[in-house]
């Protein structure tokens, strides 16, 4: 039996047919299929890479955005704090000024009151002096209307004067 002895006719036909089919397929078959599929898989790989890149960029943006938000928040709080500081300072300054002003007004009022008092006192004294002179005139007139008294008075005056002269 020729089970393990290769038959020449079959060898010949196999070489011819396999050769022809291989030639045709290697030229018009397989390269077209494989190159097309590779083109597609390249595109898929590229798309995946692009998607990854975009995702990474998005993540970076997010981080950046958060940083910006943080910055803004910090600035906001700084501004608010400054505003509060300014407010308290202004209030304090205003109080200080008001106190000064009030002191000044008070002092002025005091001097004015003192001056008023002085002039009032002077008026009162003048009045009192005038009144006392009038009272003294009235008393003298009354006392000098009587003879005995008038003499006695003159005497006392002369005594007084003589005593003053002696003393001097």
């Amino acid at each position: 039996m020729s089970l393990v002895t290769p038959e020449f006719g079959l060898l010949f036909w196999m070489v011819v047919i396999f050769g022809i089919v291989f030639f045709l397929l290697a030229k018009f078959g397989f390269p077209i299929i494989t190159s097309s599929v590779e083109k597609r898989s390249d595109k898929i790989a590229q798309s995946l890479k692009d998607a990854d890149e975009i995702e990474a960029r998005m993540a970076a943006w997010k981080v950046e955005q958060e940083q910006m938000m943080e910055e803004v928040r910090r600035q906001q709080s700084a501004i608010l704090k400054e505003a509060a500081d300014t407010k308290t300072r202004i209030v304090a300054e205003a109080k200080e000024e008001a106190r000064d002003e009030a002191g000044k007004i008070l002092a002025q009022a005091r001097t004015e009151i003192a001056a008023e008092k002085e002039s009032a006192l002077r008026d009162v004294r003048k009045e009192v002096a005038l009144l006392s002179v009038q009272v003294a005139e009235k008393i003298l007139r009354h006392e000098l209307s009587e003879e005995g008294t008038r003499q006695a008075f003159i005497d006392s005056l002369v005594d007084e004067a003589g005593k003053a002269e002696m003393r001097s």
Binding site: M1, S2, L3, V4, T5, P6, E7, F8, G9, L10, L11, F12, W13, M14, V15, I17, F18, I20, V21, F22, L24, L25, A26, F28, G29, F30, P31, I32, I33, T34, S36, V37, K39, R40, K43
Partner: protein, 378 residues
């Protein structure tokens, strides 16, 4: 390697015969079936023709008339060898006692070209020898025989089928923009197979020059796959035992062999003829390396051939058992028919797996051998 495969082949055959004989329990049936098979293997190893094998071939010539064989039971060996062997006509079935066969042209080159069908062989001065091959009626010598036999016709049909399918697939890719559309129909079916081999080539041969070898590997893979499956198909377009024929697997293995050794790098040849080994090994290593390089195609040949042949024989044994048991009463034959059918279904499923695995293994080993030959200095 070759020895190992022949032994495993023998074991497979032996197990087939064991199943058969234990079911049968009849001594002469065992003789009829396992003896020719075993002798055929002995013949295969020794390359001589055993007388039993010759008898079977003679029987094949008689185109197995059922009337004739019914008296002595069915000659299983004859049926099996008719199916796994090559013929000058494609015998399809028997109809009312007459064989229905497709006549095929016999082409013989001996003092000019002679073309005739088997029925007119004698008129042209040729006859069949004990192996069922055409010989010169006078001298008994084999002429240069380029006949379109059953296997050659099957080879032509399957190659044409492969050509048409792959070219149609390629046409889809030419006519459509792959970046816009997903493949449909035939293209979607063929793309994974082609790309599987393409990726395999890239892994085993390397990024640098796998593109040069990818078409050959795709071709080998798809061709073996197609023919393996057509071989399992039991009716006309299939049924020929093409990948279980040693001439076919030899050509495939030689294609790989020449691809490997004609495109090898300097580094590859340096490893064979002047490897970097201690002095006392220097004269031995080239011998071993050359032997190993020559053994690679032999192992490829035998692996595919033996696996596919063994599968065919096992399935045929299962089918034959149904007919053998027909004369042993309804109970025994009925129950064993159920067993045979179940086993046959199992073996057919197994063969579908083996058909793919063997195509894959052949392609992968080819790509690994090519990859080794494309090695560069580190």
């Amino acid at each position: 390697m070759m020895l190992v495969f022949l032994i495993s082949f023998l074991l497979l055959q032996g197990s087939g015969a064991d199943v058969f004989s234990s079911a049968n329990n009849i001594a002469d049936a065992t003789e009829n079936t396992s003896a020719p098979v075993a002798s055929n293997i002995a013949d295969a190893t020794a390359n001589t023709s055993a007388p039993e094998a010759g008898n079977i071939a003679d029987a094949t010539e008689n185109t197995s008339a059922p009337e004739a064989t019914e008296e002595e039971g069915i000659n299983v060996g004859e049926i099996i060898f008719e199916h796994i062997g090559d013929e000058y006509e494609w015998h399809i079935t028997e109809w009312k006692g007459k064989p229905v066969a497709i006549p095929l042209p016999c082409i013989v080159i001996e003092n000019g070209v002679h073309v005739f069908t088997l029925h007119h062989a004698v008129e042209n001065g040729y006859t069949l020898n004990e192996d069922g091959k055409l010989v010169n009626a006078e001298t008994g010598k084999r002429p240069l025989d380029l006949s379109i036999t059953k296997n050659v016709l099957s080879l032509m049909m399957s190659s044409l089928l492969l050509l048409v399918i792959v070219l149609l697939t390629a046409r889809w890719y030419r006519r459509h923009d792959v970046l816009e559309e997903a493949p449909t129909g035939l293209a979607a079916c063929m793309e994974p197979l082609v790309m599987m081999v393409h990726e395999m080539a890239r892994e085993n041969i390397g990024e640098q020059d796998y593109r040069r070898y990818s078409p050959y590997l795709c071709m080998a893979f798809l061709w073996i796959l197609f023919n393996n499956f057509l071989g399992i198909l039991p009716f006309f377009p299939g049924g020929a035992n093409l990948t279980g024929n040693i001439a076919i697997t030899l050509v495939l293995a030689l294609c790989t062999f020449f691809t490997v050794n004609l495109t090898g790098t300097k580094h590859y040849y340096k490893e064979i003829f002047a490897p970097d080994v201690p002095g006392f090994l220097k004269p031995i290593m080239p011998v071993i390396e050359v032997f190993s390089a020559l053994m690679k195609p032999v192992s490829l040949t035998i692996r595919l051939f033996a696996n596919m042949l063994a599968g065919h024989i096992m399935i045929l044994c299962m089918v034959c058992m149904i007919f053998i048991m027909a004369k042993y009463g309804p109970l025994l034959s009925g129950s064993l028919t159920v067993v045979s059918v179940l086993f046959g279904v199992f073996l057919d499923a197994l063969e579908c797996l083996v058909a793919f695995i063997q195509a894959y293994v052949f392609t992968m080993l080819s790509s690994i051998y090519i990859g080794l030959a494309r090695a560069h200095e580190e």
